[in-house]
């Protein structure tokens, strides 16, 4: 597959990049690593006329520790580099495991954390060649009015399969979004809509420049289940975090956005990580789960998996807690 034509721009400053991005009528996209964007461009799924490359911008590949003990990660940091960063692997094991779960080593050598957070949603009716898609009626994602995945649905059910998003949400991370009007901070939890087409809350003209992790507290873990170990989109992922007073549980690759499980988390806060609470939380997770996509595996399977994932991550957190962490 060949890439369609486009113009390639490498800004010297963030300001220049933002200016180019905001030029009206130019159809400009941001590229940071490109391992997903270029595949979608080859499929003709997105056809930006200009690409603005942001990886080489000053600060984009920096990892700096905050005065408060948190961590700031440039959006252009290569995933492999982050796995070699002792603060990331030592203080944020859920993030490290999530990064390790992304694609293959080849992909992690090229892909960035910002890129993985902005991973486009995927579906096997749209992530196909142009000629393939011609066999089907247009769907929500291709300017039509139906969803091939859940035919009765009024929205697109493409799957968000970012591995790092659930981990960052569980860890309470936020991102910096830069635009020509300045910057704003947004919790990663608020970065996504539950919609396969409009899957990100970022506004036009914004660039995700930085990921901000709060000081490490409590215990965290991340689990990915896929049919194949390595280079496989997940059947389901889960990230969990618990510090005794608060807990967060987030499922990934289950719907169009990472799904937080507040009921299950509340049970953990109230009851700790004993076997009974874990079972109850796993059952409660089912209640938190809305519509489950039947993409890539049957919906019944994903539901069952979600329950197992909750139980497993909580067991892992209990082990970590027991280990005096």
């Amino acid at each position: 597959m060949q890439l369609p034509s486009f113009e390639y721009l490498r800004p010297a400053t963030l300001r220049e990049g933002l200016d180019w991005l905001s030029e009206p009528g130019t159809d400009t996209a941001v590229v940071a690593g490109g391992s997903d964007l270029l595949v979608n461009m080859k499929l003709g799924l997105v056809t930006p006329k200009r690409l603005v490359s942001i990886c080489d911008l000053p600060g984009m590949q920096d990892v700096t520790e905050d005065a408060d003990g948190g961590l700031r990660i440039g959006a252009g940091c290569k995933l492999t580099d982050l796995l070699q960063h002792e603060t990331v692997t030592g203080n944020y094991p859920a993030l490290a495991d999530a990064i390790r779960a992304v694609g293959s080593q080849h992909v992690r050598n090229m892909g960035t954390l910002g890129g993985n957070l902005c991973l486009p949603t995927r579906c096997w009716y749209t992530n196909q060649s142009e000629q393939w898609r011609e066999s089907r009626q247009p769907c929500f994602k291709t300017d039509g009015e139906l969803c091939h995945v859940i035919k009765s649905s009024a929205r697109c059910h493409s799957l968000n399969s970012s591995d790092t998003a659930p981990a960052l949400i569980a860890l309470g991370a936020s991102v910096t979004l830069a635009s020509r009007d300045g910057t704003r901070e947004l919790p990663v939890a608020d970065l996504y809509f539950d919609d396969g087409v409009d899957y990100m809350t970022m506004r036009p003209g914004e660039i995700l420049t930085e990921i901000h992790l709060p000081p490490p507290t409590g215990v965290s873990a991340f689990i990915k289940v896929a049919q194949r170990n390595g280079l496989d989109y997940a059947a389901g992922t889960i990230a969990g975090w618990f510090d005794g007073a608060a807990a967060r549980l987030v499922l990934g690759s289950i719907g169009s956005h990472p799904v937080s499980l507040p009921k299950a988390a509340d049970l953990v806060v109230a009851g700790g990580l004993g076997t009974k609470t874990i079972d109850a939380a796993a059952d409660a997770a089912r209640a938190d789960l809305g519509e489950v996509s039947n993409l890539f595996s049957p919906p019944g399977y994903k539901r069952r998996l979600a329950r197992s994932l909750v139980r497993r991550v909580l067991e892992q957190l209990a082990d970590l807690q027991g280990g005096g962490k």
Binding site: Q2, L3, S5, N109, M110
Partner: protein, 167 residues
């Protein structure tokens, strides 16, 4: 779509090439420079046959690398990993231990394995699996590929410490 001149060092040789923004590194290596050892496979990052090494030794997929982003950079391909008439230890091990069958994915597998050993000279089983998971080989089923990598590691250890390494 205007072409732009990039300076690309391939296997130590400097090239000044006019590339279009939509050309991948794979296309430049094969179609512009005639280096056909790097194979064109799925062209979407899933099969690993187009693997090359970047400056720090890491394996990257040339099918998903924009050539324009390689201006001023250096890449190593299968054609550039051994002295003339010689084989790189990974190549020798692949040949000796039957890790080569049809040979189409072989350059990508070898570049992936070499990248692993360049960055981790004594990988354990998990590290080998992790590195090789980005590549696929139906002929060998990965079994003799993993044996060859383990043997290349042992060979390097023997050469480094001829007396210490077990034979």
């Amino acid at each position: 779509m205007s072409r732009q001149i990039i300076n690309l060092t391939v296997n130590g040789d400097r090239h000044e090439i006019a590339v279009a923004p939509n050309q991948t590194l794979l296309e430049v290596l094969r179609d512009e420079l005639g280096l056909s050892g790097t194979k064109r496979g799925c062209t979407s990052g899933a099969c690993g046959v187009c693997t090359v090494q970047q400056e720090d030794g890491r394996a990257v997929l040339s099918c998903l690398a924009l050539a324009v982003e390689w201006d001023g950079r250096a890449v190593t391909t299968i054609e550039g990993i051994a002295e003339p008439g010689q084989l790189h230890p990974v190549q020798a091990a692949f040949l000796e231990y039957g890790a080569v069958q049809c040979g189409f994915c072989t350059p990508g597998l070898i570049m992936t394995a070499k990248a692993l050993l360049d960055t981790d000279p004594t990988p354990d089983e998990a590290a080998i699996n992790e590195a090789m998971a980005g590549a696929i080989c139906r002929c060998t089923g990965h079994i003799k590929v993993k044996i060859a990598i383990r043997e290349a590691v042992q060979q390097a250890l023997r050469e480094r410490e001829p007396d210490a390494a077990p034979t």
